[in-house]
Amino acid sequence: MRFAVIVFPGSNCDADCYHVVKEVIGQEVDYVWHREQKFSQKYDCVILPGGFSYGDYLRTGAIARFSPIMEEVINYAHQGGLVLGICNGFQILTEAGLLPGSLVRNKELKFVCKDVYLKVENNRTPFTIDYAPGQVIKVPVAHGEGAYVCDPDTLERLKENNQIVFRYSTAGGEASPECNFNGSVDNIAGIINEKGNVLGMMPHPERCAEAVLGNDQGKYVFTSIVKWLKGGQVRGK
């Protein structure tokens, strides 16, 4: 499998994603500079990493969305290619219109970096088939503008189509208001597009993919992709 990690000016989780793909799950991976117009390789999955592209000035992801490479990413997604946007990558995907809704300032107005629990609401996606249905995982968040918002119709559609992939929950898996630390609509931490090939999530699975860091539950986002690409089966069916 071959992954691409897009590098925008100000990306800072690009090296982390690269490291996990290469060293932890042992797949091939290239950095792709934002000024490229086209992919020079055939990619099985494209990752938009976290960070502060263009300093997150104006709005998170707003300027990066117009980087030359984004046209290629949008085409790639329209053709069904797998796209994973993490944190700032999620923000860029919403700005680019590949995912509905938007991400706004956390309700307490502060940047928050800590472990949170996520309930895997949909494990039948290319990014989650290695998780059990309803599994609760611990994953770090690190963002100041990660409150997911969308209009009521969009929310209905997201629910109907099972597009809500991760919700902030308690350790026991309850998506309670208390664990909704950033004020997201309906505790939403990650969503997928209708076609099921573009995932955006605020938490950082690449930060918890190795035992040496005390937690490897995020690794399975990456192993899921590989498994899905190989035609693997959904767990727990």
Binding site: L58, R59, A62, I63, F66, T94, E95, P100, G101, S102, V104, R105, N106, K107, E108, L109, V149, C150, D151, G183
Partner: protein, 80 residues
């Protein structure tokens, strides 16, 4: 040379925690007469344009494309 003053505000349906925080701050400073505060962005864009009409069109397009996100924000502007 034209100068546009662009106002970008959160849509009324979107919560404005920053506005609330500022309101609280004002109240705690003793400004008990504050009813509501909304916080938005104010941009000054200086641009070259053939005429005012062209400038108007350009600014409007800049707002649509980049300066405001229609999912969450409204915009308006004045041109000088």
């Amino acid at each position: 040379m034209y100068k546009a003053k662009v106002f970008v505000t959160l849509k009324p349906s979107i919560l404005d925690p920053q506005g609330n925080a500022v309101k609280k701050g004002l109240l705690s400073l003793g400004f008990n007469n504050v009813e509501d505060v909304r916080v938005g962005k104010y941009l000054e864009v200086t641009l070259e344009a053939a005429d005012k009409e062209q400038a108007f069109k350009d600014i409007d397009e800049m707002c649509k494309k980049l300066l405001a996100n229609p999912v969450i924000e409204d915009y308006s502007f004045e041109l000088e």
